[in-house]
């Protein structure tokens, strides 16, 4: 009996510590107010903003909302399976699969039908969209991917989808010169 007593005390102490630790949990920071952070290093290396957007659940779920609002889903389908536009959920990137490439694709458009959204959405929205686009092929960290859409949708919740982890930077392919 006496030997178990300190054990019990330790357990209580642990539980108490765990409870205390809960207090450290905080709401995720939501940066709703400003433009993306200005770039600090040259574009030659990966843009530092990429990680900031990709590692934020908030930005990804904002991107998901815009994906539907800006009619991306009309061409690329709800979970990125494609249709009028190429699929976004596979591992092929015609114009590059890095965050900054996708932002460029969204803002400047691409010749085979991707319209340019520059001036029609803000730069921050483009980065949020790009983060969501990468989440369609499970590129960002698993724990930041949204479990479901903030809006009603006929698509399976993303948590129920099979996620295919893919390499990110290497599998960029060049666009085929003419698609005929």
């Amino acid at each position: 009996m006496s030997s178990r007593s300190p054990n019990k005390l330790a357990r209580i102490g642990l539980a108490g510590a765990a409870l205390l630790a809960l207090g450290a949990c905080d709401r995720e920071e939501r940066d709703t107010s400003r433009q993306p952070k200005p770039e600090t290093i040259s574009l030659a290396s990966s843009d530092p903003r990429a990680k900031e957007y990709e590692n934020s659940s908030f930005h990804i779920s904002q991107g998901q909302r815009y994906y539907s609002w800006m009619n991306c889903s009309g061409c690329h389908a709800l979970a990125g399976g494609g249709g009028m536009g190429p699929p976004l959920s596979d591992d092929e990137w015609r114009y590059g699969g890095r965050m900054e490439d996708i932002v460029q694709t969204i803002l400047k458009g691409r010749p085979n039908g991707m319209p340019a959204f520059e001036g029609r959405i803000t730069e921050q929205q483009a980065w949020q969209l790009a983060a969501f686009v990468r989440s369609l092929s499970a590129q960002p960290r698993q724990d930041v991917l949204p479990g479901r859409s903030d809006d009603i949708s006929n698509a399976e919740p993303q948590t129920l989808e099979e996620r295919r982890p893919q390499q990110s930077e290497s599998n960029t392919t060049l666009p085929s010169a003419e698609k005929d």
Partner: protein
């Protein structure tokens, strides 16, 4: 201290029912249903206060009552021979409670029934569709001839004395539609259609409010309600069904150009212009409304500037992004919006 204040709680509740300025008042008798409910509330209040008084009296009597004594003078916790009238009293009390509860149930039932009977046929009522979004109200008036339909946002105009059948939908989470002066609450639930009949009796300006916590800016999700005479409503309807006024000077023209070709028109619509976005409030007659951003800011030139310059300042987390307009663009867009009477 606290315990002593407890009996005052019902008084506080009564006090809250009589709001000071009257635009958002639960005790309001400005809608047909609201009046009946207020009457019923009065009956409940009187009846329950009466019973509460009797209970309080008994409690007092019990506290003062001395314990019974036997004939030999020893205290008897079982009570004395004087119990019989008390027992009769208890039986009378139980009967009174039963009758009282039955009476209240009956009153509630009758009120309910009379309200249901008074409801006009939805087919003959004004048809209004309200869609809740985080955090604003999308308001559409439907008429038999769809080309007369009106779409507006964060404001509701109702003709006095005319029943309005409001269908309620939500695009994201559960909201609740509540114009306390006119009727009770009704939830807006994603994937379901709920409805509510509003029969405003008195002209005036009221305030509606989302009454179900719906996120960060739940508190900034209000609705300006105007009940006006039929002719005034018809004037409002005709004005709001018309396309927006075209820009008249260089400044508003610059604002028009910016609005219709840039970020604004991706989400907002202004009838009569190429701006046809559907996911944000319709701004066709924006400047004729009483407030900006679902009751967040009163309508004024300064607030229009403040809102466009940084929408995340007054209402953090709302869906309108910070655009970063240049000063001249800000002037132009604000002037154009201000011209949309």
């Amino acid at each position: 201290m606290r315990r002593r204040l407890l009996p005052l709680l019902p008084l506080l509740l009564v006090g809250s029912a009589c709001s000071v300025d009257g635009i958002q008042s639960v005790g309001g008798r400005d809608g047909q249903g609201g009046a009946a409910i207020a009457d019923l509330f009065g009956i409940f209040l009187v009846a329950t206060l009466l019973f509460a008084a009797v209970v309080a009296a008994f409690l007092g009597a019990a506290a003062l009552r001395r314990r019974g004594r036997r004939a030999d003078g020893i205290e008897d916790p079982e009570g004395s021979g004087t119990e019989r009238p008390l027992k009769t009293g208890l039986i009378v009390w139980i009967a009174a409670v039963a009758i009282g509860l039955f009476g209240l149930t009956l009153a509630s039932h009758l009120t309910d029934r009379s309200m249901a009977r008074a409801l006009p046929d939805p087919a003959s009522a004004l048809r209004i569709e309200i869609v809740a979004n985080q955090w604003w109200w999308d308001v559409r008036y439907h008429f038999r001839d769809p080309s007369r339909d009106v779409r507006t946002a964060n404001e509701l105009h109702l003709p006095a004395g005319v029943p309005a059948h409001v269908t309620l939908k939500s695009n994201d989470v559960i909201h609740s539609f509540w114009v306390p002066n006119l009727a009770g609450k009704q939830d807006l639930i994603p994937g379901r259609i709920t409805d509510l009949m509003l029969i405003p009796r008195k002209t005036g300006v009221y305030r509606g409010q989302c009454a179900e916590f719906c996120g960060m800016q739940h508190a900034h999700m209000a609705l300006d309600v105007t009940v006006e005479p039929r002719e005034a409503f018809e004037r409002w309807r005709a004005h709001n069904a018309a396309p927006a006024v075209p820009p008249t000077n260089a400044l508003t023209r610059a604002g028009y150009d910016y609005f219709t070709t840039r970020e604004c028109s991706t989400c907002h619509a202004i009838a009569g212009t190429p701006a046809s976005g559907q996911v944000a409030p319709d701004l066709t007659h924006f400047a004729s409304r009483r407030s900006i951003a679902a009751g967040t800011l009163p309508m004024s030139r300064g607030h229009i500037y403040a809102w466009i310059a940084d929408p995340q300042g007054p209402k953090p987390g709302n869906a309108m992004p910070y655009i970063g307009l240049e000063a001249d663009e800000l002037h132009a867009v604000a002037a154009y919006l201000e011209s949309l009477k």
